[in-house]
Amino acid sequence: MSNSVLFKSSIAKKYFMALTGLFLCTFLVGHLLGNLQLIFKTGEEGRRAFNEYAYFMGHNLFIKVLSYTTYIALIVHAVDGIMLTIQNKKARPVKYAYNNPKANSGTASRNMAILGTLILVFLATHMANFWWKAKITEEIPLHSLVKTVDYPVGQNPATGEMITKPIEVTHYLNTNGTYQQFKVKDPSTGQEQKLFEIKNKHEFYDLTSHVKIGDGYKDLHTVVMTFFSKENSSALFGVIFYVISMLVLGYHLWHGFASAFQSLGLNHPLYMPIIKKVGMAFSIVVPFLFAIIPVIIYMNH
């Protein structure tokens, strides 16, 4: 009977909710650590670090497994949550005419389903903004760097000085770590020359031999910066939406973190107070740090 019990019984639903919830908490930490690079490092260094991190997250096998697990966890968490909510709604077909639940329970704990739904809406938006572009349509430009160099075009016969002409050299950051010259452009004439070609949106191919010579980093950093930049007319709306969503996430975690331990049976008089404190700290710190990133970007760009 154990198999069916593990899937059908109400208590098993709690385990799944708790396990997926806690797993998603670890995902949040990972995601946050990556995001923090958006504000703790600046300039090309920061951009490079972030894009390298994003590339790593997309290509490391372990991380890949982890990310698929995250997708599954998210789906299970949501579907299980919906099933729980349906079961719970059915359990009280007639509502109280007068109810005072504030007296015995926290607001967050009573609204997990609504908070969860809001988070789901946020996730859909968030993924459409970044993940969809990065993974599916790959509409993200590659990490490029345009340097203007003085190109020698001759020598002044009188003075012997070099005559130079500014030209723009576009580099793409190769995943091998080097900035690879992609094209040169003469701004005065508008003439340009590619040094290799790009296929499949990010792969570098030699122009003549058609051999793959490298791979580019997607410039997610710039996408993010642009998204939240003051120059972007919808950025303010975006920032507010993100901040509110993180508030919602905070509320969800405020109850969810410690609750998961309770569901798994890990409630001990000695440890539960600690778990509760950690949960509270987690539910404040993590969403707060997530939330200040768009704010800082907005202020600085």
């Binding site: 009977m1 154990s2 019990v5 593990l6 059908k8 019984s9 109400s10 208590i11 098993a12 639903k13 709690k14 385990y15 729980l84 079961q87 719970n88 059915k90 359990a91 009280r92 077909p93 007639v94 509502k95 109280y96 005419a97 007068y98 109810n99 005072n100 639940p101 007296a103 015995n104 329970s105 926290g106 704990s109 009573r110 997990m112 109850h255 410690a258 609750s259 309770q262 569901s263 798994l264 049976g265 890990l266 409630n267 001990h268 008089p269 539960m272």
Partner: protein, 254 residues
């Protein structure tokens, strides 16, 4: 005990039987002693209704000292009313003020169908108990000496705290999900904590939880409302213990 007298308005759920449609009816009641218990106030109202040849309000009650678990009532939006650590029969009118309007509703749960007015059928709890809430020992009295197995005081005390459940159903009534897990968790815990109950612990928790699900109770989302409203202050630690026991059972029982 300086007793005062107050006048109150009551909004009480009236429903002729399980199939009839119910509604909140309004009553006014004067000269209620603040030393009266809530149920004595209802007695007073019923006496008034009977004298007016109206149908008195049906409500469950028996011991009137907070131990039998028969009284229920959702009063002003809370199971057993605004005070904590008590049953409705221990709620006293000194908790209310002159001129108050008091809402009185039955427990609301799919698993507790209304019988009449404020009375509900809680036999679902009995059926859960019948599914495994016992130690399978015959009543011969010839087991072993009561002191043959010492039980650590801490365990015995915890088992007692869980066993203090009076089966009133306030946990179900106040849970936003109508979950019975505090009730079941308490029973599972009592036995799981005692050596006598450990032998069948696995079967017990699986069977009781199965029956609980069949009865149509909701699922616990750890809001903790039940432990606040439980007249005996039973901790949700007991639900955690049930979750542990259940996991053990679900993973090991072939």
């Amino acid at each position: 005990m300086a007793s005062k007298f107050i006048n109150i308005t009551l909004k009480i759920w009236r429903q002729k039987n399980s199939k009839a449609k119910g509604a909140l009816e309004t009553y006014t009641l004067n000269d209620v002693s603040t030393d009266s218990s809530f149920l004595e106030m209802l007695d007073q109202l019923n006496e008034q209704l009977i004298n007016e040849k109206q149908s008195p309000i049906a409500f469950d009650h028996d011991c009137r000292e907070g131990i039998c678990g028969m009284c229920s009532l959702y009063i002003n939006g809370r199971a057993h009313g605004p005070d904590t650590g008590i049953t409705t029969c221990q709620l006293h009118m000194r908790m209310f003020k002159d001129g108050d309007t008091i809402y009185v509703e039955p427990w609301r749960s799919r698993a507790f169908p209304i019988i009449k007015d404020l009375m509900v059928d809680r036999s679902a709890f009995d059926r859960i108990q019948q599914a495994g809430g016992f130690v399978s020992v015959n009543t011969s009295g010839r087991t072993m000496d009561a002191n043959a197995i010492p039980i650590p005081k801490a365990d015995a005390d915890k088992a007692f705290e869980a066993a203090a459940c009076i089966g009133c159903g306030a946990c179900v009534a106040s849970c936003k999900n109508g979950s019975a897990m505090l009730f079941v968790g308490a029973k599972v815990s009592q036995y799981a904590l005692l050596p006598q109950g450990k032998v069948e612990a696995t079967d017990r928790v699986l069977n009781m939880v199965r029956q609980m699900d069949e009865e149509g109770f909701g699922n616990c989302t750890n809001t903790g409302a039940c432990e606040i409203e439980c007249p005996k202050g039973i901790s949700i630690e007991n639900i955690a213990r049930m979750n542990r026991e259940f996991l053990k059972g679900a993973l090991t029982k072939a």
